[in-house]
């Protein structure tokens, strides 16, 4: 196709959009909403991943000791802990201290402990792990190793639920893919129908173009550009709305929640670019299918 024809194609595509502006506005709005649902899902997924990652940074672990453990035994456990990469002993909690803290925690319900003949709480070490060379701490592995050490009764780590959460994240990702796939099909359907309507509104012109010797591609390209423009506009608008919503959420959080832990992050640039390109590709593909079907008739 000659290069000098492209300005004509572009003019034609823009003229089509303007003359069928209501159909295009409806199509565009629906596409933006569909893409926005997908973007929001991706945004939440990215943030969940970040939060989970951040919690993994500051893993805390409690190593409960058997009752009646000797000083030597305790020393041995302490040295094992110190040999763990990234591990720091925050404090040692004796049985007595554990009970005192427990009493304090019970507050007004202290009466519950009346009649307790002995201190049932074990002594424990409280550990904090920092990432070593950026690697995530293998909490489950450490727990299993420590529980084999003589004198250790039980090991709990604060992010035990994170393991279960990983499974949930996998599920969310799967649901995301399914929703994303369905929304992509929806977007494709919307573009196809929008372009089909503009083709029908220009049926007479197409017929005349063909009669004066226009090739199929000469007629098809402006419609494909039309679909592509719709893809560009809807992709850009969906990302813009998401970004504005992100800005609002970021500031609102400071006012209402004041939880520094839950800092929102915007989707990475490569994801944004991918969504934009996906939207353009869907616009192009939808219009390609629509014109292809029309020219088969």
């Amino acid at each position: 196709m000659r290069l000098r024809l492209w300005p004509y194609f572009l003019r034609q595509a823009l003229a089509n959009i303007i003359s069928n502006r209501i159909v295009h506005a409806i199509g565009l709005g629906t596409m933006v909403v569909s893409l926005l649902i997908f973007c929001t899902f991706l945004f939440l997924l990215v943030n969940l991943n970040v939060w989970v990652g951040e919690w993994g940074h500051s893993l805390t672990m409690s190593v409960y000791l058997q009752d009646g453990i000797s000083e030597a035994g305790r020393g041995n456990i302490e040295s094992v802990i110190r040999s763990l990469p990234g591990a720091q002993i925050r404090r040692f909690i004796s049985k007595e201290r554990a009970l005192t803290e427990f009493r304090r925690a019970l507050g007004s319900q202290l009466g519950l402990l009346d009649g307790l003949s002995h201190n049932p709480l074990p002594a424990s070490f409280e550990l904090v792990f920092n990432k070593v060379e950026g690697k995530k701490v293998d909490a489950r592995g450490i727990k299993q190793d420590l529980e084999k050490v003589e004198g250790v009764e039980e090991v709990h780590y604060s992010e035990e639920w994170l393991d279960r959460f990983e499974g949930l994240m996998k599920m969310i990702r799967l649901v995301g893919f399914i929703i994303g796939g369905l929304l992509c099909m929806g977007v494709l359907f919307i573009v196809m129908n929008t372009i089909k309507l503009t083709i029908y509104s220009r049926k007479e012109e197409i017929e005349i173009l063909k009669l004066v010797g226009a090739t199929d591609w000469f007629v098809k390209i402006p419609f494909m550009l039309e679909g592509m423009i719709q893809g560009i506009m809807s992709g850009a608008l969906a990302l813009l709305i998401l970004f504005l919503a992100y800005l609002i959420i970021s500031t609102e959080r400071m006012h209402f929640l004041d939880l520094a832990v839950f800092d929102f992050v915007f989707i990475p640039n490569e994801y944004a670019l991918l969504i934009f390109l996906l939207s353009v590709a869907l616009g192009l593909l939808g219009s390609f299918i629509a014109v292809g079907r029309f020219f088969k008739v």
């Binding site: 004066v212 090739t215 199929d216 000469f218």
Partner: protein, 218 residues
């Protein structure tokens, strides 16, 4: 140039053309005449490739339209000018844009498109109406726009379906002079008409059609 062999065309049960055999040589000027419903328009549309024959063959410059690809047919149409009976002008485009359309599809330079479109409009005496829209014109003026569009690409073959049907006698003469000048430049011209005046006034070849059959040639 145009060669038709045992051409048949049916529209459902009705027979539009039956066993039409015809040869129009390069540079010939031919009238196809006959009453309404004789098959004149169908014959022109078949030559133009706008319809496919039920059976038989059409050869244009040795190219069999039955065996031509879609793309080659598009390219062949660029060498054929067609003046439609119902004009087929786009109401949303100006007179200039309607005429220029025939060149735009070929990918010509914009400057050349402008120049040739103006020349063509000058030939049909419509330069002063180039910015008007078809619906603002009279039937005769619309007819002339359709002629301007057909001749703007310097066609090798010019097919015209009742091109003077909406014109008064003076304009009819002018348009016929225009067709003859295009013919003088070397184009093969085939005009379908039921106008007896037009046929009596000319010495060109005449083919008579009735009920889809050729029943006479002069």
């Amino acid at each position: 140039m145009i060669h038709l062999f045992h051409l048949y065309k049916n529209f459902g049960p009705s027979i539009a053309l039956s066993d039409v055999n015809l040869r129009v040589h390069e540079g010939e000027f031919v009238f196809i005449s006959g009453p309404s419903g004789a098959g004149k328009t169908t014959l022109l549309r078949l030559i133009f490739g706008a319809e496919r024959p039920t059976s038989g063959h059409i050869l244009i410059n040795g190219i069999n339209l039955n065996r031509i690809s879609r793309l080659k047919l598009d390219l062949l149409r660029r060498k054929i000018g067609f003046v439609f009976q119902d004009f087929k002008l786009l109401p949303a485009k100006t007179v200039f844009e309607n005429v220029a359309l025939a060149l735009e599809v070929t990918g010509e330079r914009r400057s050349l498109i402008r120049k040739k479109t103006r020349q063509s409009l000058k030939l049909v005496d419509l330069v002063d109406k180039e910015q008007a829209y078809p619906l603002e014109l009279s039937g005769g003026e619309q007819q002339r726009v359709a002629i301007a569009r057909a001749i703007v690409k310097d066609p090798l073959i010019l097919l015209a379906d009742e091109p003077t049907g909406n014109l008064d006698p003076d304009l009819t003469k002018d348009i016929m002079v225009l067709f003859k000048s295009i013919h003088m430049k070397g184009a093969t011209v085939v005009i379908a008409t039921h106008s007896r005046e037009l046929l009596e006034d000319t010495e060109q070849g005449k083919i008579f059609l009735n009920r889809g059959r050729i029943f006479g040639e002069k």
